[in-house]
Symmetry: D2
Subunit: 490 residues, 4 copies
Amino acid sequence: MHDALPSASRDLDLDGDTLREECGVFGIFGHPDAAAITALGLHALQHRGQEAAGIVTFDGARFHAERKLGLVGDSFSSREVIERLTGANAIGHVRYSTTGETVMRNVQPLFAELDAGGFAVAHNGNLTNGLTLRRELIREGAICQSTTDTEVILHLLARSRKPRIVERFLDAIRALEGAFALVCLSNKKLIGARDPYGIRPLVIGELDGRYILASETCALDIIGARFVRDVENGEVVVITEGGIESLRPFPAVPERPCVFEYIYFARPDSIVNGKSVYEARKNLGAQLAAESPAEVDVVVPVPDSGVPAAIGYAQAACVPFEMGIIRNHYVGRTFIQPTQSVRELGVRMKHSANRGVIAGKRIVLIDDSLVRGTTSVKIVRMMREAGAKEVHFRIASPPIKHPDFYGIDTPEREKLLAATHDLEAMRAYIGADSLAFLSIDGLYRALGFAGRNAERPQFTDHCFTGEYPTGLTDLGIETPKRLSILAEAD
Amino acid sequence: MHDALPSASRDLDLDGDTLREECGVFGIFGHPDAAAITALGLHALQHRGQEAAGIVTFDGARFHAERKLGLVGDSFSSREVIERLTGANAIGHVRYSTTGETVMRNVQPLFAELDAGGFAVAHNGNLTNGLTLRRELIREGAICQSTTDTEVILHLLARSRKPRIVERFLDAIRALEGAFALVCLSNKKLIGARDPYGIRPLVIGELDGRYILASETCALDIIGARFVRDVENGEVVVITEGGIESLRPFPAVPERPCVFEYIYFARPDSIVNGKSVYEARKNLGAQLAAESPAEVDVVVPVPDSGVPAAIGYAQAACVPFEMGIIRNHYVGRTFIQPTQSVRELGVRMKHSANRGVIAGKRIVLIDDSLVRGTTSVKIVRMMREAGAKEVHFRIASPPIKHPDFYGIDTPEREKLLAATHDLEAMRAYIGADSLAFLSIDGLYRALGFAGRNAERPQFTDHCFTGEYPTGLTDLGIETPKRLSILAEAD
Amino acid sequence: MHDALPSASRDLDLDGDTLREECGVFGIFGHPDAAAITALGLHALQHRGQEAAGIVTFDGARFHAERKLGLVGDSFSSREVIERLTGANAIGHVRYSTTGETVMRNVQPLFAELDAGGFAVAHNGNLTNGLTLRRELIREGAICQSTTDTEVILHLLARSRKPRIVERFLDAIRALEGAFALVCLSNKKLIGARDPYGIRPLVIGELDGRYILASETCALDIIGARFVRDVENGEVVVITEGGIESLRPFPAVPERPCVFEYIYFARPDSIVNGKSVYEARKNLGAQLAAESPAEVDVVVPVPDSGVPAAIGYAQAACVPFEMGIIRNHYVGRTFIQPTQSVRELGVRMKHSANRGVIAGKRIVLIDDSLVRGTTSVKIVRMMREAGAKEVHFRIASPPIKHPDFYGIDTPEREKLLAATHDLEAMRAYIGADSLAFLSIDGLYRALGFAGRNAERPQFTDHCFTGEYPTGLTDLGIETPKRLSILAEAD
Amino acid sequence: MHDALPSASRDLDLDGDTLREECGVFGIFGHPDAAAITALGLHALQHRGQEAAGIVTFDGARFHAERKLGLVGDSFSSREVIERLTGANAIGHVRYSTTGETVMRNVQPLFAELDAGGFAVAHNGNLTNGLTLRRELIREGAICQSTTDTEVILHLLARSRKPRIVERFLDAIRALEGAFALVCLSNKKLIGARDPYGIRPLVIGELDGRYILASETCALDIIGARFVRDVENGEVVVITEGGIESLRPFPAVPERPCVFEYIYFARPDSIVNGKSVYEARKNLGAQLAAESPAEVDVVVPVPDSGVPAAIGYAQAACVPFEMGIIRNHYVGRTFIQPTQSVRELGVRMKHSANRGVIAGKRIVLIDDSLVRGTTSVKIVRMMREAGAKEVHFRIASPPIKHPDFYGIDTPEREKLLAATHDLEAMRAYIGADSLAFLSIDGLYRALGFAGRNAERPQFTDHCFTGEYPTGLTDLGIETPKRLSILAEAD
C-alpha cells in the first residue's frame, strides 16, 4: 500500500528531492540493558527514519512502551525514559511515514493484547496488499487504531485459530504480499522474519551470548556486538531462552534484495548481504568513471551520500578529490524557512560552495542518484556562481523511472525527472555541461556480477526497470477517504 | 467493572474523602458551531469529571478528534483547537478514570472505523459485565487499544452481523449490564441511550431547531438551549436530519435513577428527572432539621456542596446561616503538597475557618454526605481551633455503607466510615459534639415521596441499602494482569 | 505610575468589569521548610494576583529563585521545584500586572546582586513617582531589566552610599511616593515596610518561634501561624536571628488604609487592621438594607464576592437568602471563548441562573461594587430570562468615579459607569427595576465610624471621592515608548 | 575572564575532548527581511556555538528580542517567531557558555534601555578584565542581571557621561582587555568592533546595497551577500543610513588573529583574513606529510574536522584517502547516554569504524588537534578492533600546552595531554604505533609565512607557546561565590 497522502515528512524535505527509507528495526532478547541497547541500535539506524522512534520491552509480567516523534537521541537519551522500559527483552523501530500520517498512534512498534498475552511488532518495508487486507478485516469486525499497513499483521494474528503464537504469526505473514522485515516480541519469544525475496535487510547479531536482530550491521557495531549472519529471504527466526530456531513458511525462491540499500540507504560502514556498502559505492563510482569519464581538474561529491562514489571515481580517474561543497549538518531535516523571499535561497541552507576549490576549475559532481533533479539544479548553479569553469554531473546509479512500493518514499512517477525527460533534456534542465548515469549492467558489475540476469534479476531494481518482484494487489484500489480520526497535538 | 488500580485522580484528592462521578456527556446534531457548543456544554458539565475531556466531530467526510488531559477551559478554549474540529455534528465527554488508567488512549469519545463508516461513543456510567465481555472479545480476536469498559461497546458493534448501524448498536447495548448513558456519533446519526433503569441521567435539548443530548440541563442553560425532555430509562433516541426517533430495545422496567445525583453530583441549577437539584438539596436540609435539630447559634455549610442543604436547614430551623468556612477555589483539584511536613497541614489547603463567625459560638456543620470522614475530622478540629463552643455535625443523606459499581468512584467498603462504625463511634472519630444523618425515608420524603417503596425503590440507593438493581457479573473476576502497554508521557 | 498598556490579564477578564489587586507578598525567616511554607502562604493569597508567582530563598551561601506565570498551585506544587529552593529564609509574591507587561522578567520577587550581597524585593502597591525615578536612574546610567516600578527600589538601594543594607533600604524607600507594602530578603535579614499611610496591608505572624510577614492573616491561618500584629503605617520591621526591630523612617501621619480591602480585595476570613473582613462586608450589606430596602421575595448574591453583603442584607431585611446564581469555578480566569458567535454567550461561562429560585419571584441582587456595569447588564438579563418578576440591584459600596493609582487595576475614568452616568442612567443601562448604592457615610458607619472625617479621612477612598492621599508625580508624564525588548516565549 | 564553573555544555561533550568557540555574531542594517536574514546568517555560524541563539531587531519605534536555548534551526525557523521580530535592523548571536551558566538571562544579544534609547550587543570573544570591571561596577551601584562578561560593556556605556552613543561606546570598549568582536544595535546605528589585535574575526558584507556584519564569510554566502572586507584589528565601524564610517579608538598595533580559526573553528568554506580555511587546512596536512611521513596503505581522517588536512596529507603523500571512520551526524551534541554500562561504549555514539577500509591495512589517522586525548584513545582502539595492522596518528597542529582566555573553551591546564606528557608518553597513552604533531614553524609555513616571527608573532598562538598578547587582569581573582539567583526552568 503506497500512501499518497501528504505527510509532515515531505515538508521537511526542502525539495522532495531525495529517496527515503521508511524504517529501521532492532530487537534483543535476554539482556539486562535491553532498552538502552535498543536505543543505541536505533540511533545507529537513525538514517533509515527520523520522524519517530519507539521501543517496547517485556519484563516478564508486563509490556512497556515509549513511542515518540523525533530523533532517538532526543527521545531516548534520558535516564527516566530508559528506566520506565524495564525488562530484558526489547524491540524498537525508527520510521518515516509513507503509510499513515505521522501521528502518535502510527508510531511503531505496534502492540496488541491477545488472548495468549501481548504481542509487539516492528516493520520495515511495505505491504502491497495491506489496504485490501485491512478492508477485509474491518468487514469482519476488526477495529483498526492506526492507519499503518503494519496493524493488519496484528489483526491477522489475533484472528488466527491456531493455538500457538508462532503458528499464528506464520498464518499472518503467509497472507502478506510485498516487502517486510519484521521484528516481533511476545511474552516468551523474539521473532524475526523477511519476505520471500528478502527485499528489506535483516541481520542476526550476538552480544554476550544474547541474540540481536537489526536492519543493518552498523547497529551491531555501535554496541560491539558480533555479526552472526543475515536472516535469509523467506526465513523466520524464533529466539527464545533455548536459542534460535529457523522456520521456512514460504515456498523457496531466489533472493532479490533491494539494490537501493547499496546505492543510497544503508550506512556506508554496514555489510549488507555480505557486501561492504562503502566498497560497493566506491565501485559504483569507479565503474561510472570507466563508463563516463570527464576531462576535469577536480572530483567533487554532493555530500554526504555522494562521498564514497566520488572517492571511487577520483581514484579510478586519477583526478584530485576535493570537498567542493560544504554541508551544514546542523540543519538536520527540520529547518523550515521562515519567509517566502528567504525560501528562494533554497539549497544553501544545507549546502554551500567551497569557493577556493571551485573557482576557475573544471569540476565533475558525483551524486548517488537523481530523483526530481531540483537539488541538482541548485547545486550546479551554486558551482557556477562560485566560479567553476565547467560543471559535469555524474550519477552513480541508473535513471529512476518507476515508483517504489516496498517502503521507499518516491515521488509520483510524473515527478521523477528520468521518467519524463531524456538524457539531453535532463542535462539542459540541470544546467550541467555534461550529464551521465551509470548503466544498468554497470550497476550489477559494480556489485560483483557479470551483469543483470534478465531471467532472474539478482536484485529488486524496479525503480530502474519497472519489474516488480511481487504482486501489487492494492494498486487499483482508490485511497480510502480518511474516516479515521486525527490525533491531537502530538 | 470497578477498577482497583491506583489512578492519578486519587492523588489529587487530598484524602480520598469525596465521591466522584466518572463522566459527563454531550452531543449536538446539525449546528455550524458544533465543536464550540460542545466545548461549552462540557464546560458546564465539568463538575462531573475534571481529569480529561474530548470532542469528536464529523464534517460530512471525515471525523476529527481532540482528546486531552485537564480541564475543558484549558484544552478547548483556543481558536485553533476548535477550528480543527470541523463539522456540524459533535459529541464530547469529560471524565474521571475509575476504569482504566488515565492515559490518552482512554480519554473519550472512543472511535472506531467500521465497515460502514466511523462511529464514536461517549459513555457515562459503568458496566458490571465489562471485564467479562472484554475477555470474550479478545478470545475471539479483538484487539483492545484502551483499558476502558467503553471500548467493548465498539467491538460489539463492529462484530454485529446486522446491516444497519442502529441495529448493530442495539445488538451491542443489549449485551451490556450496569449503568450507561451513551451519546454516540455515526456518519449520519447522533444516538443517545440510557440503561433500562436510567441510572445515569441524560436529557434532550434544542437550540435553533437542532437537537442536543447532555447529561444535565445546566449544559443546555449555558448555551441558551431549551430543555425538551429526559431520555427515558431504557430508551434509545436516534437523531438525524429527519428529526428524532425513539426506540425501546429493552423489556420495560420502572425507572430507578441514582439518588446521588440529587445529593451530590448534579449541579444545583440542573433539573434532573423533573426535579430542581437546588430545591431537592434545600429539602434534604429542611428534612434533616426536622429529624435532627441542634441547639446552636449558627448554621455553617461545608462549602461548596453543603451550601444548599445548609440554607434549607437554617431556614427550617430559623437559625442564622453563615459562611463560617471559606473555600479557596484556586486550589482546584490539582494542588500536590510539596513536602511531608507540609502535607500534615491537610485540609486547610482548600478550607479555612472564618474565625469571626465561629469564635464563641455553638455551630452546626451541614455536609451533603460522609464517605471516609477524614475531611470531617479536620474540619471539626479547625472549627474548635477557631473557638467554636460546640460543634454539631449533620449529614444531609443516610450513612454510606456499600460501594458503587455504576460509575461513582467510592473507596473500598472497609474505608467507608459508616460501614465499620456505629453512629456513636463515628461521632467520636469525627470529634463532634453530636452527629446525625438523614434517615432513608427522610431522603425519599425530601424528594417528594411518602417514603421508600421497599418493593420497588424509586431510586438506585445501593450505597445506603446494599440493594443493587442489576447483576454484578464481573464481581468475582480477578483484576487482570496488565499486559497492555503503558502509554508514553501524556 | 499607572500603566495604560494592554496586558494579558485584561484579556482574561471577559469584560474588564472587575477591580483587581496587583499583588500579595509573603516572607519567612529561619524555617527549615521556608520555600514550602511560602508556597502555601502565596496559595492563600492567590486571590490577590493570579497571573504569576515567584519565590526567592537564601540558603546561607546562595540565593535561589523560581518565578513562573500561572497559579501557585500549578507552579510550586512539585517536589522538584520546592527542593531547588533551598534555605531557611524565603520571600514570595503573587501578582497581576498593572505596571509592566506580564513577562518573566517582571515576575517578582526581583533580585539584585549588590556589592554587599544579594537583595530580593516583593512589592504590593504602586508608586506614583516610579516613572519619574526610573527616568532619573536611567539618566544616571542605571540599566533596567524589568518594566516594573519595583525595580527602581533596587537601583536606589544599589546607588545609596550608606554602608549598611538597612540604611540603604531606608534611603531607597524615602524616595518613594505612593503605596507600598514591601517584603525584602538580604543575606542576613527579612525586611518588611509599609508606606506612610499604610495604604496596602501587611501583617506579622509567628510559627514555631519564626517570624512571618504576609499581606493578610489568611496566609497565616493556612499554616497554623499566630497573628502577632499589623506592620504599622510608615513602619519598617527588620527581622534577624536576634529578633524583630522596628524603625520609623518617615514623619508620622495618621494611617489611611485602602477601604477597598474591606469591600472587595481581602479574603473574607482575613482580619485587616483589626477588623474581620467578613463581618465588615455583612455590615455593608446590613447598612445597605437600612438605607435602600427593597420589596422582594429573595435576596440573591452575585457570587462569590457578593455573598457576605447579601447575607448581611438578608438578615437585616428578614428576607430569605438564596443562591439564585450559580458560579462555575472551573472557568477560573483563563477561559478564552473560541469563536465570535460563542463569545456573545458572555457571562454564562461563569454564572448561571438557578431558575427554581428565580422564576416568578421579586429579587434583589447584591454585588460588592460596580465598575463598568457590563457584567451587571448580563446578570440582570439572565435573571429576567429565568423568570424573575422584578429585579432590584443594590451595591454594597458607593459609586466608583475615579481611577486608582495605588495598585488596583481600574479601567480608565471614562469607562467607569458612575463617572459618566447619573443613578437613573445607570439603572436604565443595567436594566434593573431599581438601583441603589451604599452612601459614603454608610460605608464609614459599616466600618465602625460615625461617618467620614472630611478633614482626616480614616481610609484611602479616592475611587469614591477623588481625594488622593499622596502626590501623583507621574500623572502628567506621558507613558514612555517601549524601547525595552519584549521577552521571548513565556 | 575564564569561568571555571561547570556548564551544561560540558555535559554534552562526551569527553570534554574538543575545543569550543564561544560565539558567532551577525548584524544587518536596513533590510526588510532583517530577522529572517539574521536567522540564516546565524544558521551558517552554528558551528561557532550550539547552546543558544538570539536575535534583537529594531523597527523604528521598538526593539524586539527572541532568545532561546538550542539550535537556530529549531528556534528561529517558525514564521511566528520571525514575524514577531519586526524591523529592518537586526543583530544576532549564537553561543557556548564559557562565562556564565547557560540560562536564559545570559543568552545574547544583551540589551539595555539607555537614556538615549535602546542598545543591544552581541559579543564573540572573552574579556580578560571582565570580572574586575564587574566588581567595580557593582561597587558603584550597577545591578547586573546576567553573569556574562558582555554585560559590563552595557554598564560602561550606560555610565559614560558622553552625549552621543558612539562616543559612549568608544568609552566603554577602551576599558576592555582581551578579545572582542562586537556587533551592536542602537536606535539609529549598527556598530561593529574588533579588539586591538583582531583576535576574533569579523567581516563586512553587502546585500542589495545593505551592510552586513558577520563572524565569517560563510554567513554571507548562505544569503548570497558579497564580501566587502574584514573589519580590521582595533577598528570600529558605524553603519547608518548614510553609509559606513570607520573609527580607530585604539593605539595601532599589528594584527594578531587567533590561529585556531584556521586549525579548527572557522568553517572550511570561509575566507578568514583573506585566506581560504579549507586551503589552509589542506596545507597543514601537506606540511604535516612533509614533516612526519608514515609508511601506510590509507590515510583516514577523524571526521569531520580532520577531513581537509587528511586530503592534503593524502595528496602530498600519494596515499589513498578513505573514509575509514563514519560519523553519525544525528547524534548532534545532545545525546546523553542513558546508563552507566552503556556509557562505556563511549565514542561509538558518534564515530564508527568502516571495517572494509581498515581491516588488514596500515593506516594513518589525521586529526586537527589534540586536547585531552580521550577521544583519540577510543578511536585508535576502534581501528585496531576493526583489524588495522598499524595505526599511526598525525595531528595537523602543534601540541596544546596552555589554556585559552579569549573565548575558546579549553580544559584546565592539567587536563591538556600535551601539558603533562612528552611525545612518547602521549603515543603510549593513545596506543598508536607512532604519533607526530605539526611543528610551530610548520604551522606558520602552512599559513603562508616563512616561519613564526618570534618578536612579533603573526598570530595569537598562546595555546602552543604560552605567549598571551594581552594582559590577564582577572587571572589572580578568585571566581566569585554565586550570589546571583538561578534562573527558572529554561
